[in-house]
Point group: C2
Chain length 343, copies 2
Amino acid sequence: MTAARSSPGRVTMRDVASVAGVSTATVSKVLNDRPDVGPEVRQRVLDTIGRLGYRVNAVARGLRARTTDTIAILTDDLEGIFTTTLMRGVEEAASEYDVSVLLANSYGDPEKERKHLRRLLDRQVDGLIIMSGNRVRPRSGPALPMPDTPYVFLYEYGMAEPVPSILPDDRGGAALAARHLLDLGRRRIGFINGPASWEATADRLDGFTATLREAGLDADPVLVRHAASWSPEDGYALTAALLDLPDPPDAVFCASDDLATGALAAIHDRGLAIPGAVAVVGFDDRSLAVHQRPPLTTVALPLLEMGRVAGQRLLSAINGEPQSHELIRVACELKIRTSTGPA
Amino acid sequence: MTAARSSPGRVTMRDVASVAGVSTATVSKVLNDRPDVGPEVRQRVLDTIGRLGYRVNAVARGLRARTTDTIAILTDDLEGIFTTTLMRGVEEAASEYDVSVLLANSYGDPEKERKHLRRLLDRQVDGLIIMSGNRVRPRSGPALPMPDTPYVFLYEYGMAEPVPSILPDDRGGAALAARHLLDLGRRRIGFINGPASWEATADRLDGFTATLREAGLDADPVLVRHAASWSPEDGYALTAALLDLPDPPDAVFCASDDLATGALAAIHDRGLAIPGAVAVVGFDDRSLAVHQRPPLTTVALPLLEMGRVAGQRLLSAINGEPQSHELIRVACELKIRTSTGPA
DNA sequence: CCCAGTTACGTAATCGTTTTCGTAGAGGGC
DNA sequence: GCCCTCTACGAAAACGATTACGTAACTGGG
């Protein structure tokens, strides 16, 4: 008279059906909130489900319904600084829709990437988030043709052709920094940009100069430098060079927190006050920014939000909404700390 | 005469079978390397698979074969400092066996954790890695009963009852540090431990004192302190207190890199040479360790290896090998940098 | 009172594999 | 030539759900 089970397997839909005295079709309808099932039968089925502890088998459901409620994140650097936050955003968006997230790490090895991709497609994932650190080499879509599987590129620069993709608003972020410094009364603002080979640097430069121009003052070309790398050492050297100028800057905007770290050191070593004599703004908002002395004002990459947007966009594409191939830029946020302030 | 497909769906096993002039059973046998299929038929099937671009449907296979070749990582802090490296280790192990990894993040919310767990079990994952930051509250297994699903706890302290779990060898790691300092000729070694509420601190203390005792000198109780937190500030304060002693230490071993960072600052502020007057060893090997001045000698947590071991252990349990409930400790490694050295 | 239209449920096909048997034919020992 | 054992394959039944369709019972309008 208890559960009608004897085999060691999990309790299945047929068990529920037979105990509740209905057909499996009805049980399925109850589970999926179909309208054509009476209230008392529905309740009876629900009760039996509870009593037997029935849980749907997502694999069987996936086979029949041709959807797995699973998306995958394909990354080439699982340990990258920005990776986890991006992933968290994606996971949050997916969780809201009861979609699970598969993880695949390629280490940047194209062979491994293809292998993972094949395996994911074999697993019938409903969609794909393709993510990597800032790669420079141009790409033109997934490594494998995926006729029916939607995808979104996340934080991936240098796409050769239009694909659905999510990037930070580098231009707007740089503009935020410039306007902040202008608002504080700084007028000679230096800009230490990253290596020109990085696509983001062009936008950051553009946002910077455009904002100065709007304020009526042209960016002094001598105050704008491209670093050879993103390292603190380069930040140090280029800042030192700026300070040696006959007409040195009263503020330095760096295109990364690492560069800004070097800038802080250079200014400090000159015996100049921060932000008194020279204000400093970074970019990225890595955790090191807040631990600088003084704590670094910086333009935060909206990583969490980018991940969320990527997830939402992918899920809406999965749900059949028309997939645009446009590039979406997510706004950066200025984190004001003590490395800037009234002169 | 080309592919026998007209419907828009993927090419299926039946298509391969009909084109190759065999039954689906035979195709399946070829795919799974069963012995009972002749060489010429096998080749013919293989060729057709290649020509049609057939790929197995893992969902259907999973339904029938009752195994999904998927494990899940359940974490409560996706953005934790140690999390990604642990995950990478798990992913590496899984990849070797062609097993995919599902990711679930609970933010430490037990309700969310249960919800995720239910969903994962519905998805018929073959096994579970349960992972979190160093949690203090005692736990006694998964949040939900999982009759047939193997699991391994990874980097989870304070388990109330024996469960399969993986931890770093805290005792051995501390011993490594102590022996290193002894070998360098240090004789008055201070130990700044973490909060006593953390299970790891007892083992680290034990490894430290045991090593001193083996060397014939007892640890001076006055040189052993428990910090109230793991913060650099506490490291600074406690180190300062040790240095103020009438008979101050010639080396300080800290139970975390953060504590050690504070220790370095305190020693530096006293105008004492590092490692000349006082040597410093940390614990964890976070990336900040190498960026200290001087670069910090530290006991590295074997995170990657722990992840790998957890993955391998889980997979072997999945493959039917008897699952022991013992706790496995993975050896730490001493990273010698310049904060230690000849006196 | 009849009949078309709902409503509520069941039947059975189906999703794409794996796997258990069954069996035809080849081969071998005697 | 008989029987028995392999070998190589196919037929068909799962696996556990979803869903198109069929149909009995009920409804209400005329």
